[in-house]
C-alpha cells in the first residue's frame, strides 16, 4: 500500500516540477523523515538503499540522513545517495546529515562528490546548527 | 483494486484446462500445460530392448523424443497406425528433470475446463499400481473423462528404460581356438 502511494506522490511532483510552480504541489507534509543509512552500502546493498530512500524522495519536510553507522561504502552506494540528494535539491527540498562516516566522507572526496553532497565539515556543521 | 490481481489465481485453483483424447471407448484427459504439441504419425526409429509400448524415437525439431503407444501401455487392442493417428507430445517432470515424450492416441477431442471440485477420485480397483497414474475422474458433458497423471504414467516406465542387451544369442567368448 505504502509503495503505491509513493508512486502517486512521485507523479504529482513530476508535474509540479515541469510546471515550475511549487504551488502546484497538492501534498503537504510537515513531518520530516529520518533515514538511517545502513552499515553496508556497497553494490550489493545499493538496491535496498535506493528503495529505502525512494520513500523519502517526496517528503516535503527536511529529510535527515543518518550516516553514523555507515561502515563500508563503494561507488554504487554513493551514487544512489548522490542521486537522491541531487534530486531533492532540484525540487528545492533539504537534506541534512546526522552523524559522521569517515569512510563515506573519504569516498565522496575521492569520487569528487563532496560538493554535491555538501557533507558537513565539523566547522560547517556548527554553522548549520546555528542557522 | 486488489481483487483484480487475485482473481486469476483463484480461478487457477478452482479449474484448469484439460486436453481430452480418445483411446478405444474411453476419453482421457491431460493437463493442457503439459502438452507441447500435437502432431501426425510418422515412422519411428526402434530402440533396442525398449519396453514393447515404447515404439521408438522421433525427431521433434531437433530433439530425440521417445514415443509411447498408450493403447499398448493400457493393454488395449493394438490399432493400426494410419495418417490420422495422432501423437500428443507432453512434458514429463521426473527426478531426472524435464523430459519430452510422445504418446500415440486414437484421436484428440477437445480442450475443456475442469472444475477441480468436481474431480472424483478413481475407485480402488484392487491393484494400486494399475490406477496409480489416474488422477481422478470427471464428468464433462455427460461423458466420463479419465484424468491422467502423466508424470506417474511415464515414471513407472523410466526404470525399465535402460536397455539391457543381454537377452540375445550373440557371444564373444569362445573366440580362442
Amino acid at each position: 500500500m505504502n509503495k503505491r502511494k509513493q508512486g502517486a506522490a512521485t507523479r504529482t511532483t513530476r508535474r509540479g516540477r515541469a510546471a515550475k510552480t511549487p504551488g502546484a504541489e497538492t501534498e503537504h507534509k510537515s513531518a520530516s523523515g529520518t533515514f538511517a543509512v545502513a552499515a553496508e552500502c556497497t553494490v550489493a546493498d545499493a538496491g535496498t538503499l535506493k528503495s529505502g530512500l525512494a520513500k523519502l524522495l517526496d517528503d516535503t519536510g527536511v529529510v535527515t540522513l543518518d550516516i553514523g553507522s555507515v561502515q563500508r561504502i563503494d561507488t554504487a552506494g554513493l551514487q544512489v545517495i548522490a542521486t537522491f540528494v541531487r534530486e531533492r535539491e532540484s525540487l528545492g527540498r533539504q537534506v541534512e546529515w546526522r552523524g559522521a562516516a569517515p569512510s563515506l566522507a573519504a569516498a565522496a572526496k575521492l569520487l569528487g562528490l563532496s560538493s554535491l553532497l555538501k557533507l558537513p565539515t565539523p566547522a560547517a556543521r556548527a554553522v548549520e546548527t546555528a542557522s | 483494486m486488489s481483487t483484480n490481481a487475485v482473481k486469476p489465481e483463484q480461478a487457477g485453483a478452482g479449474s484448469h484446462q484439460v486436453l481430452t483424447f480418445v483411446l478405444g471407448n474411453e476419453t482421457y484427459g491431460v493437463d493442457i500445460l503439459r502438452v507441447q504439441e500435437i502432431r501426425g504419425w510418422s515412422a519411428v526409429t526402434k530402440i533396442p530392448h525398449a519396453p514393447s509400448h515404447v515404439l521408438g524415437v522421433l525427431n521433434l525439431r531437433g530433439s530425440i523424443v521417445p514415443i509411447v503407444d498408450l493403447r499398448m501401455r493400457f493393454a488395449l487392442d493394438r490399432a493400426e497406425y494410419t495418417a490420422i493417428t495422432v501423437i500428443i507430445v507432453v512434458s514429463v517432470l521426473s527426478a531426472a528433470g524435464r523430459r519430452d515424450f510422445g504418446v500415440v492416441v486414437d484421436g484428440v477431442s477437445d480442450v475443456v475446463d475442469v472444475n477441480t471440485a468436481e474431480v472424483k477420485p478413481a475407485p480402488e480397483l484392487g491393484s494400486r499400481a494399475a490406477t496409480d497414474y489416474i488422477r481422478g475422474l470427471v464428468s464433462v458433458s455427460d461423458r466420463m473423462v479419465v484424468l491422467l497423471d502423466i508424470d506417474r504414467l511415464i515414471a513407472t516406465d523410466m526404470a525399465s528404460f535402460s536397455g539391457n542387451l543381454n537377452q540375445g544369442e550373440t557371444s564373444l567368448a569362445g573366440a580362442a581356438a
Binding site: A46, D74, T75, R86 | P48, A50, M158, G163, L172, A177
Partner: protein, 782 residues
C-alpha cells in the same frame, strides 16, 4: 531489492584462475640469476589484481594473503630483493594457496587455513628478513615489514607503498602531470569494479584531483542502483608511469573508456640520501588530497584485516635478531651500486623500463578484441546450426527429385545453401575450439615438482601447443594426460646415474606434442626413458591368468595388456618398470571422448603414448549401415575395415560362437540384428557384410545387411528424454528427418561379452575367473 553479488563472482573467479595460470607460467620462466623485469611485472600484476578484486567482493582472507604476496613481489620488482630459488619456490606455493582459496571461496567449501597462514608467514618472514638485513632500513620500517601482522590500524592499506617508495629513492623522480578521462560503462559495477578503489590507488600514486561528471545520472526513480552513471576527469601529478595508471584500471578494461594524456613532465633530482626513505612515506601521504580521510576509515575495502589464524607478530627487531648475519652481505652489493648511480645516469634506466612495460600493456589492451561468451550460448548456436544442417539436407533431397522449369535454379540455390551451411557450421565449431596450450600449460609446474621430489632431471618439451580442439574434449583430456606424464616421469625416466650408466644424458626428456592428423587430433606423450619390459609384462599377465600360458602375443598385444584393469592396479606397488597405475582409467577416459590410445615402446629407448581424439564431441564421422529396416551409424574412428565374408573363412565354436579369420586372428562376429532385436534382410553371413570394428582394444566383426555411406552426423542425446541404451552412444537425425542410432562399439562388445559370461562352459570362460573373462580376450589369439 538486494542483488546477489555472486553473479559478479563468476567473472572474477574465472579471470583470477586464468591470471594465476599466467603467474605460474611466468614464475616457471623466471631465470633465477637474471629475471626479466617484464615477467616479474606480470607476476606482480596478477597478485595485485586478485587482491583488488577480492577486496571489492569482501573476500578478506584472499585479500590479506595476496596483499602479503604483493608486498614481496613489489620488493622483487623494485630490485629491493633478488629472485632466489627459495623465493620462486615460495611464490609457486602462494599460487597454489591463492588457487585453493579462490576455489574454496567459489565452492563455499572450507579450506585448510593453517596452510594459508603458514605460507603467509613464510612470505612475511621473507620480506622481514630482507628489511631486517637491509642496511640502515630496519629501524625505519617496522610498519612496512609485515603490514598484516604489526601495522597499527591507521596504516594497513598503505603499508606496501612506502616500501616501494623507499626502495627506489636513488632513481631520479620524474614529476609528470597526467590527465585521465575515465568514463565507465553502465555495467562496470556488475563486473566487480569499483571506481572508488581505483581512485584510492591513484591517490596513492601521486597527487590526484578529481572532477566528477554527473550529467548521465538519471532521475532517482529511473536509477538502476547497480549501473554506473558517473564519469570522471582526473589529474594526477607525480612520478607516475603510464603503466602504473593502466594497472589501476586493469580490471576495468573493456568496461570503460579510458583516456590517458601526459600534459607535462619535469625531471627533478632524486633524493639521494638514504635518510630520505624514512620521510618519503609521510610526504607521499601528505600529497594525497584525501589520504587522511582514507586512513582514518579503518574499514575501507582495501583495509586488510588481520590474518585469519594467529600469525605471530613479526617485528623487524625480532627478525633481525633471528636472521643469520650472513644475510647482510648478501644484500649489500645492490645498495652501494644503486647509491653510486648519479641522478643523470639513472634517468635513462627509468625510461628504458617503462617502454618495456608499455609494450606489455599494449598487448593487454589488444586482448580486449575478444569477448567472453558463455558456453551455453555457443551450444545453443551449435544446436540451431545442427537443425539448419538437417533442414538443408531435407531440402536437398527434395530438390533432387523435383522437376520443372525452376528445378534447376532451385538446385543451384540449394547447392549454395549447402555450402553456406557447412561454412556456418565450421565457423561455429571453431568458436568452441581452444588451443591445447590450455592443458599443456599446467605441465611445466607439475614436471618440475615431480622431478624435484623424485630426484630426477627432466626436460619437458612442448610442441604443437597451438593445435585447437573442442573445449569439451579439452576439459576431459587434461586428467589422462597428467596421468601419462606422471607415469613417464615416475616409471619411464630413469634416475640420473642409471641414465649415465646407460650412455644417456643425465636429464630425461618428456615430450608432449599435439597435431592434426586426418580429421582427428593426435596428442603424444613420449619419453626417452627405460621403455616397457615386455617379458615381465607378459609373465605378469600369464601369472594373473589374463593370457593363456602358451599364448604368443605380438608386441602390440603385450603393450595393450597394461590398459587392462586387472593388470594395472595389481602392479602399482611393484618394481615393474612398466607404467601400471590406472592405465585402464586413462583408456576409459579417452574412449569416453570417442578417441583411442596406442602405445609404442622400445626397451631402453623409451615409450610413446599416442592418443587420437575427435576434433569435437558434437559431430562424428560415421558409416551408415543398414540392418533390416533400421539405419545405424558406426563412428569411423572405430572401424578398421569392412568386408564380405566367404563361407570358408567362418568357423563356429561350440555350435554357437561364430568367428572369422582376419589378418591371422580369429575375431568374433556380433550379429547386430540379434543384439538389437531387428528383423534382418540377410541371415547367412556371406550374404551380408562384416564391419571390423575396434573397441576397448578388442576387435570384432559386426554383421550388418549393407553399408550405406559415410557422412558427418550431429550427435544428439538419447538420454535427454529417454535413457542410456547399452551399445548406443547417441542418435542423429538423417537427411530425411528420421532418427538413426549411433553405435558405441565398446558398449556392444561389452554387452556381447557380458552375455558370453552368462553362458556356461565355453572353453575360455571355463579357464578364467569370471572377472577376467569380461575383459580378457586381447586379440583372442588362436
Amino acid at each position: 531489492m538486494t542483488i546477489d553479488l555472486t553473479q559478479f563472482h563468476d567473472a572474477f573467479f574465472e579471470e583470477s584462475f586464468e591470471a594465476l595460470d599466467s603467474m605460474e607460467a611466468a614464475l616457471l620462466k623466471l631465470d633465477i640469476g637474471a629475471p626479466e623485469p617484464e615477467l616479474i611485472n606480470t607476476i606482480f600484476r596478477v597478485a595485485h589484481s586478485i587482491k583488488g578484486g577480492s577486496a571489492t567482493f569482501g573476500f578478506s582472507d584472499i585479500a590479506s594473503f595476496t596483499h602479503s604476496c604483493e608486498t614481496l613481489l613489489d620488493e622483487l620488482r623494485s630490485g629491493g630483493m633478488q629472485v632466489s630459488l627459495d623465493i620462486s619456490d615460495l611464490l609457486l606455493k602462494t599460487v597454489d594457496v591463492m588457487r585453493a582459496m579462490l576455489r574454496s571461496t567459489q565452492s563455499k567449501q572450507p579450506l585448510d587455513m593453517q596452510r594459508v597462514s603458514d605460507i603467509q608467514f613464510d612470505v612475511e618472514l621473507m620480506i622481514a628478513q630482507k628489511n631486517a638485513a637491509g642496511p640502515g632500513n630496519a629501524p625505519a620500517k617496522p610498519a612496512a615489514v609485515a603490514p598484516v601482522a604489526v601495522a597499527p590500524p591507521p596504516a594497513p592499506a598503505r603499508a606496501p607503498e612506502p616500501v616501494s617508495v623507499a626502495a627506489t629513492p636513488m632513481v631520479a623522480a620524474v614529476a609528470k602531470h597526467w590527465e585521465i578521462s575515465f568514463r565507465p560503462y553502465r555495467e562496470l559495477f556488475a563486473r566487480g569494479n569499483d571506481p572508488l578503489r581505483m581512485m584510492r590507488e591513484l591517490a596513492e600514486l601521486g597527487e590526484l584531483k578529481v572532477e566528477v561528471d554527473t550529467s548521465a545520472l538519471p532521475a532517482f526513480a529511473a536509477l538502476d542502483a547497480q549501473s554506473c552513471y558517473l564519469a570522471w576527469k582526473l589529474e594526477l601529478a607525480g612520478d607516475v608511469t603510464e603503466d602504473a595508471i593502466k594497472q589501476v584500471f586493469e580490471w576495468a578494461e573493456g568496461d570503460c573508456d579510458l583516456d590517458l594524456r601526459l600534459v607535462g613532465a619535469e625531471t627533478t633530482a632524486a633524493p639521494v640520501v638514504a635518510a630520505a626513505t624514512a620521510s618519503a612515506p609521510a610526504e607521499v601521504a601528505a600529497s594525497n588530497i584525501v589520504a587522511d580521510a582514507i586512513l582514518s576509515g579503518n574499514t575501507s575495502p582495501l583495509g586488510i584485516p588481520s590474518p585469519p589464524l594467529g600469525v605471530p607478530s613479526l617485528t623487524a627487531q625480532s627478525l633481525a635478531a633471528r636472521s643469520p648475519a650472513a644475510e647482510v652481505p648478501k644484500h649489500e652489493p645492490s645498495a652501494p651500486a644503486a647509491a653510486a648511480a648519479a641522478p643523470t645516469a639513472a634517468a635513462p634506466t627509468l625510461t628504458a623500463v617503462p617502454s618495456a612495460k608499455q609494450d606489455a600493456s599494449i598487448g593487454a589492451v589488444g586482448d580486449s578484441g575478444s569477448i567472453r561468451v558463455s558456453v551455453e550460448k555457443i551450444d545453443e548456436l551449435m544446436n540451431t546450426v545442427g537443425e539448419l544442417v538437417i533442414t538443408q539436407a531435407m531440402l536437398s533431397q527434395l530438390g533432387a527429385v523435383l522437376e520443372g522449369t525452376n528445378a534447376e535454379k532451385l538446385r543451384a540455390g540449394l547447392a549454395q545453401l549447402e555450402r553456406n551451411t557447412r561454412e556456418l557450421q565450421e565457423s561455429v565449431m571453431r568458436v568452441r575450439m581452444l588451443p591445447i596450450s590450455f592443458v599443456f600449460s599446467r605441465f611445466p609446474r607439475m614436471v618440475r615438482d615431480i622431478a624435484q621430489r623424485l630426484g630426477k632431471q627432466i626436460d619437458l618439451k612442448l610442441t604443437g601447443e597451438q593445435t585447437e580442439l573442442d573445449k569439451t574434449v579439452l576439459e576431459k583430456i587434461g586428467d589422462p594426460l597428467v596421468h601419462l606424464v606422471r607415469n613417464s616421469i615416475d616409471h619411464g625416466i630413469e634416475m640420473p646415474d642409471v641414465r649415465i650408466a646407460a650412455g644417456k644424458g643425465a636429464a630425461g626428456t618428456v615430450h608432449l606434442d599435439a597435431c592434426h592428423r586426418g580429421g582427428n587430433i593426435a596428442v603424444e606423450v613420449s619419453d626417452d626413458g627405460g621403455g616397457l619390459d615386455k617379458d615381465r609384462i607378459l609373465a605378469k599377465a600369464k601369472q594373473r591368468g589374463l593370457v593363456g600360458q602358451n599364448d604368443v602375443l605380438t608386441d602390440e598385444q603385450i603393450h595393450d595388456l597394461i590398459f587392462l584393469p586387472g593388470f594395472s592396479t595389481a602392479e602399482k606397488t611393484t618394481d615393474l618398470s612398466g607404467r601400471g597405475v590406472g592405465m585402464d582409467v586413462v583408456r576409459r577416459n579417452v574412449k569416453e571422448l570417442g578417441g583411442k590410445i596406442e602405445l609404442r615402446s622400445e626397451r631402453g629407448k623409451g615409450s610413446r603414448f599416442i592418443i587420437t581424439l575427435p576434433l569435437t564431441l558434437a559431430i562424428v564421422d560415421g558409416q551408415s549401415v543398414a540392418v533390416g529396416s533400421e539405419t545405424y551409424i558406426i563412428p569411423l574412428i572405430s572401424i578398421v575395415e569392412s568386408m564380405r565374408l566367404k563361407e570358408t573363412s567362418i568357423s563356429r565354436l561350440s555350435g554357437h560362437n561364430e568367428v572369422f579369420s582376419f589378418r591371422g586372428d580369429y575375431l568374433p562376429i556380433i550379429r547386430l540384428h540379434e543384439l538389437f532385436g531387428v528383423e534382418p534382410r540377410a541371415r547367412a553371413l556371406h550374404e551380408g557384410l562384416v564391419v571390423i570394428a575396434e573397441g576397448d582394444g578388442r576387435r570384432v566383426g559386426l554383421f550388418v545387411d549393407d553399408l550405406l555411406g559415410q557422412q558427418q552426423v550431429v550427435i544428439k542425446s538419447l538420454e535427454a528424454n529417454y535413457g542410456h541404451v547399452e551399445g548406443v552412444s547417441g542418435a542423429t537425425i538423417l537427411g530425411d528427418g528420421s532418427v538413426a542410432l549411433i553405435l558405441d562399439v565398446a558398449g556392444i562388445i561389452h554387452a556381447a561379452s557380458m552375455r558370453a559370461t552368462e553362458r556356461p562352459a565355453t572353453e575360455r570362460s571355463a579357464k578364467e575367473p569370471p572377472a577376467g573373462a569380461r575383459e580378457a580376450p586381447v586379440g583372442a589369439a588362436a
